[in-house]
Amino acid sequence: MALLQIAEPGLSSVPHQHRLAAGIDLGTTNSLVASVKSGLPETLQDSNGSDITPSIVSYQQDTVLVGHAAEAFSVKDPQNTIKSVKRLIGRSLSDIKSKYPALPYEFSGEDNHPKLVTRQGEQDPVQVSAKILSQLVERAKSSLGGELEGVVITVPAYFDDAQRQSTKDAATLAGVNVLRLLNEPTAAAVAYGLDSKQEGVIAVYDLGGGTFDISILRLNKGVFEVLATGGDSALGGDDFDIAIADHIIEKSGLARPLSNSLERQISEQACHAKEQLSSQEKVQVTLAFEDALAANSEVSFELNRQTLDSLIQPLVTKTLRSCRRALKDADIKADEINEVVMVGGSTRVPLVRSSVGDFFKRPPLTSIDPDKVVAIGAAIQADVLAGNKPDNEMLLLDVTPLSLGLETMGGLVEKVIPRNTTIPVAKAQEFTTFKDGQTAMAIHVLQGERELVEDCRSLARFELRGIPAMTAGAAHIRVTFKVDADGLLSVSAMEKSTKVESSIQVKPSFGLEENDIINMLQDSMSHAQEDMDARMLKEQQVEATRVHENVSAALAQDGANLLNEQEREAIENALAELLTTSQSSDIAAIEQAIKDTDNITSTFAERRMDASIRTALAGHSVDEV
């Protein structure tokens, strides 16, 4: 008997089609997975009852260890035990080396595609991340009792395209469908239900073990826009521990260097004291020395919260400086912030809470476990995206996943809205007619990154009729692409002089599976050169056709009157040559043939011009002109 969860009214799934989904917080130090069960979002525990999986992968002789199992090897076997791979993903080797010069790993591969050398061979950071994801996905599967529809993975708001794409690739490698990548601060805001508020400015203060991030978000009609991010990639709760440890050493009358075991004992005591002082006013620190024969084999003293506060005050002040800078970047005043969300275990420290509260002049939100809040937000979003909520609770898209554009002559795609544009958005571009007297225009709406129509996804076609007959290129047709807050695309076309208009609505976000998007993006990268060549060839062919058509029309009209037999034959020959050449794929030859035709018809063009002026002037007096 399969186990059931309570569904929203009318949304019970049919057997074997449970829409199982999970949210994954793929963190630098720790990772978590969460899911919504019977309407309640919660983090999923492993078989040892632990929510948190350390983001560590250890490549041993014949196994790959992940999480707690790998942790032990980070000291013993640092070169084969990859920690904090999130700092490496989607980055070039030179970038990594300049940012983190002290990493214990051996790198190989090209600069823009570095690999880690382990005893199990070269490992791409994407592969390492995939190992962590696999373990979290397996946990979700056994915890939810089935295959996952997909996952939402959180990424820092400052992650660039390459880092986001690499994170997605890691998920693909781990064999799981990505419903969406969600910015970590946005996930935290979603966990507190702030997305239902329609608008406001939200600060997300994220103080983890080793990193500090501050993000300023603006919520507008349910869409989160990142106004500014800031922080310090080398400041976190670990620095609190170090400050306390230094204090313990001083109080105990010890001096560095100390034995490894004593250092470890001190740092454990420091971490313990920090945690205890979040709920207690004072704590007893006790150090036992290995040398039991020494006069003082044990040191014990009291540490109170006041002392802790004075030790970590400089660090907290440093985070507030970053907050001030982020506010300045966002052009927002502290009192314009509507909510402050606390993320990361270190935000449990009372001094952090009170300082942040004072800085933003409002009590920060702390009711959700700050270690779990990002994963919980991701789980809520995953639940919605998997289709377990009524439509009116549909969370909104925040960016366009792929470029949107339309077909132009020769089967080329003109991009109107580039991918990753935040929505809602409206963009317009002007197009014109290709032939004389053209009164209708077919508009073909496409999605994708490639240059040719056949390589992109067709979304819709419609026609604009009633364009007044004009010479080719004279009509001004304004095509507007609009993606509203629900992710719906509408395309309208209007001829400017007559204002005739035509439009259509399409749903681009539902037309593609995330996997298709990945494939299409990968295609566009691997075919970039090929595509460019194809585009240039098509452009020349279109130009050749245009010239051929114009000259043929002119010949039919005036050829007999204005040209002698010899001239006429020369032009006809050039036209035939142009036609054959344009069928080939030799860009330069087509270009040459167009030039040749232009040259040979220049006299003809001049005579036509003179003739038309004479016709126009005939019967008119000079005054009228």
Partner: protein, 107 residues
């Protein structure tokens, strides 16, 4: 006609209803689908339908529509943990056979 819940199920249902913060109770039902004919429905309820019957089981409103009730009379709802997976389970005296996966049944 009777529907019952184990203490574990009652506790969980109350938690989930409180967490959702709205609605009038929990719907138990069956619908025709699946490889063995019928499948269980377990949903939150925002509004009652005309043919709904409401049972008060341990201070929880359990709502069953008339047609489903025929197939669910005497059913006990349980909340169980199987490995990492946990969820609700129907113990239904009317069910004669289940499909291999247990997600659907016949009467």
């Amino acid at each position: 006609m009777s529907i019952s819940m184990t203490p574990a199920a009652t506790e969980r249902v109350k938690l989930f209803l409180a967490n959702r913060g709205k609605g009038v109770g929990l719907r138990l039902g069956v619908k025709t689908t699946g490889c063995s004919g019928l499948a269980y429905v377990l949903e939150f309820v925002d509004s009652l339908n005309d043919d709904d019957e409401v049972f008060n089981v341990d201070d929880v409103n359990i709502i069953v529509d008339g047609k489903s009730l025929v197939h669910l009379d005497g059913t006990q709802l349980d909340f169980v943990k199987e490995g990492l997976n946990e969820g609700f389970k129907f113990t239904n005296p009317n069910a004669k056979g289940e499909c291999g996966c247990g997600e659907s049944f016949n009467v």
